[in-house]
Assembly symmetry: C2
Homo-oligomer: 591 residues x 2
Amino acid sequence: MPSLRLALNQIDTTVGDIAGNSELVVHWTRHAAEQGAHLVAFPEMALTGYPVEDLALRPSFVAASRAALVALAERLAAEGLGDTAVVVGYLGRSTTPSQRLGLPVGSPQNCAALLHRGRVVTRLAKHHLPNYGVFDEFRYFVPGDTLPVFRVHGVDVALAVCEDIWQDGGRVQAARQAGAGLLLVVNASPYEADKDDLRLELVRRRAAEAGCTLAYVNQVGGQDELVFDGDSLVVDASGEVLARAPQFEEGCLLLDLDLPQATAATGREAEANSSRFVADGLEVVRTVLSEDVLPAPAEPVTAGQAPRLGELEEVYGALVVGLRAYVQKNGFTAVLIGLSGGIDSALVAALAVDAVGADNVHCVSMPSAYSSQHSRDDAAELARRTGLHFRTVSIEPMFNAYMDALGLTGLAEENLQSRLRGTLLMALSNQENHLVLAPGNKSELAVGYSTLYGDSVGGYGPVKDVYKSLVFRLARWRNEAAAERGETPPIPENTISKPPSAELRPDQVDTDSLPDYDLLDAVLTAYVERDRGRAEILAEGFDAAVVDRVIRLVDTAEYKRRQYPPGTKISSKNFGRDRRQPITNRWREPS
Amino acid sequence: MPSLRLALNQIDTTVGDIAGNSELVVHWTRHAAEQGAHLVAFPEMALTGYPVEDLALRPSFVAASRAALVALAERLAAEGLGDTAVVVGYLGRSTTPSQRLGLPVGSPQNCAALLHRGRVVTRLAKHHLPNYGVFDEFRYFVPGDTLPVFRVHGVDVALAVCEDIWQDGGRVQAARQAGAGLLLVVNASPYEADKDDLRLELVRRRAAEAGCTLAYVNQVGGQDELVFDGDSLVVDASGEVLARAPQFEEGCLLLDLDLPQATAATGREAEANSSRFVADGLEVVRTVLSEDVLPAPAEPVTAGQAPRLGELEEVYGALVVGLRAYVQKNGFTAVLIGLSGGIDSALVAALAVDAVGADNVHCVSMPSAYSSQHSRDDAAELARRTGLHFRTVSIEPMFNAYMDALGLTGLAEENLQSRLRGTLLMALSNQENHLVLAPGNKSELAVGYSTLYGDSVGGYGPVKDVYKSLVFRLARWRNEAAAERGETPPIPENTISKPPSAELRPDQVDTDSLPDYDLLDAVLTAYVERDRGRAEILAEGFDAAVVDRVIRLVDTAEYKRRQYPPGTKISSKNFGRDRRQPITNRWREPS
């Protein structure tokens, strides 16, 4: 049985930074080659980063990606790495003349290529294009219609890209029919809570369907709102997990595989003997790199399985990775947080300390006449425990200036305080060049319990996708984790135990305006995450008055979630829904 | 030759307001029937409004739309309108078990139906799903695979939906092969400058390809960022325009058509005689409402062609319609504008006066120490000319309070002034319940020459898709149009003629930071609208230093365009890119 040493490199790329990503590929290829790897794989679109969004529609960017691929193949050979087979994702384009309305000529494709001895040996484009959730790939790409199968040291390796294994049919079936000995899948599969279990079951099922070992390599690190958790893995056709990489850590999953020797004919002989189209219109394209079979090494490398993270540890880890990436990839070193003494800003501060270090975390307490003494104390206590930078600036003079001019009352007076704090944070941010972090959680955001241009101010909202009840659980978990390590828990106990309040009027608590957070979050989960209608939610046993109130709040809060105002569209490229740029985009037109 | 009286109703629907939209359909059907129409058509998804965005993924909303369709058919009959054939768009779902990942069971479809004598006689789903620019239909819908052809008074009418005629193949070819005498296309085709010319040429070409008369009915009115301009039209197979409705006006295009008598067999006979699949996998589904042929009336109704609008009149009209719709459909009556004396806020004020009337336009001048006397005078003069509500509130006390606390300099000091104005506007908005309008234009927005949470504050930005050079042209056009009507031009001449300035530091002018606007806008048009790369733009003759500067500004301004901060995504339904709700959504879960 032929043996093959495989290196799955789960690396952290940056959208648009083609030069930097190419360097990463060279670095990790050298690392793998030094350890004797024969086949080295990198994630989906590793060369351009993922997701490139509207950059895909810019022909000069597509051209830059394609040129970088050719240059990368040449460079690997020039650096003595040409004998290693390298599979890497990039942004390519269709060579067939057909094109779809809305796509440029030579439609963009989500591609991967095999590089060997200085050449681009074979290419493929993703066959199944996801267009749900965070994915808009049907918008950007046209699908590929080949199944590349290349023979390396006597093993036939079939290639697929990410969604190709999430949808039925296509390359998984094709790989079986083509008699592949290994199905190698390159991915940029974003993190979601509990998705690792889903992914494992999927890979097991697809390995069985393909009838061969399946190697799955995934991106790691943060890119704008997305976190990629790595979790690369190798599963054999029986469903046994041969190796599994950790989540959230850049690295190489290296292992020796015993794989079946290729028997299928190749080249013209194959064309004459077999149907070219094997599944869903996919055509098998075979290439041979090497027929020589390698014996199993005396001391085979086994990668083992990285320990699994607990539920809260995993979510907390994702939030830290996402925040750190956003700060660094956008060119900041330090962050600025308005520290109220409440739970949201306390968790954000704890995350920030873990992400960029206490010395890069600047906090400001901005009390008004309605701020309680315990809030001020709790904020100062968190600063003391973590060692972050802390100062206090009262908003009373600014508040009085507005009240004297306008005589505000009610909600206008409440929101004013929040907006004065937002303005203060942005002033400090402009003066000192720190990235402002917004403390808003998903429960608030969903029901509109926040002030537009007030507490929603910030360049990044680390907990914007975290329901309030999970905010509490994460805060408790972080404190317990510190205690277990013999460290000081970062978050003051009083911050966790006191009833949440915006403190914008005397004796205000959140439950004046909202249901209890556990109840609110349960209804939100049904309405938002599971898309259940009112009748279905009532059938789950919730109180009708609460359900109606929550649904009404969610349905009318959309305005607050779109802070740059919409405006009448009169041209082909508006900013917003029809022009979607990655924020962290390092690509620049060459000058 | 059979005659048919056709009524194309270009109506203004509201997303989510199924009850209100149904009323509109009944109202305009009665109007058409009273004028003897035999066939009455309404726009794409008229029953739900367009675009419904993520509402399509909510099964209870799809169910509500389908139920409303059945109820509408029954109600039309009950009101004595059952003999009129009515074609209306709605949100339906696929009845085949196949489904795509990311779509709910019974995948949503963009449908239209023929209603007659109390029944839903036939249905179809859009075949070509646009997924570029403002369209995300592949995200929401699965395509239809039938070509309904119904016979009414001896004429075979084939149906299609919007994009079905923008893409090659599909229903246009199928209509020819099915021998249709009329191709009726229901649309929700958003306005873009000059798109009416494009649309006319397209309809002419498709009528020739279908080999029959083509009737095109389009939505009118504003929905969030989109404006629908109507411009419904009827073209015969030779390309002659038989009728054309005005842009931006709700109404009925009524005319008598001489159409070929149907010859194709129907029912089982047809199935036995012909191939069922005529193009792109479309199956012809034939129905007969009535075989009796009507003679041409003694006095045929001819609709004529509405006069075309001039270039600037058309754009100005679109901006007024979009603004008015946004204000009204979001439940506001009045707007609030910070009036600086500069050209952007002046044009916004003029648009607002035209959209909602001077008595519903509230303006506030918010001078600082850097505000020039001419700016204050120009703002007051505009108020005097138009009769809008005007007041002055100085931001100096608030500015001094911040400066005393923080000692800001440079950009931080400049942005502070802008943010204090934003906070002031929002305070008045909260206190008085006016919708704040943001004055930012597309040139500023593109290069980031604006203050986040400052001049970008507002619920709607009427000129956010208008380049600065077009702002000037529209201001001049509006003044000239007033002069031609013997009215006072709304915008002070000095506002138009003086050099633009943000007035955030002494003697500041925009050209300190930006190229001249004509040059800037030319480069932006190449880079943003036409997706040209740097090399291509240089080849058009632009200066390299200017091009590099503009490209750098555009590439780094994305952050400002996303005001609700991004944040790490950890769940299946984040707010933002994976949860896209229409802002103006009138649908509520039934309670």
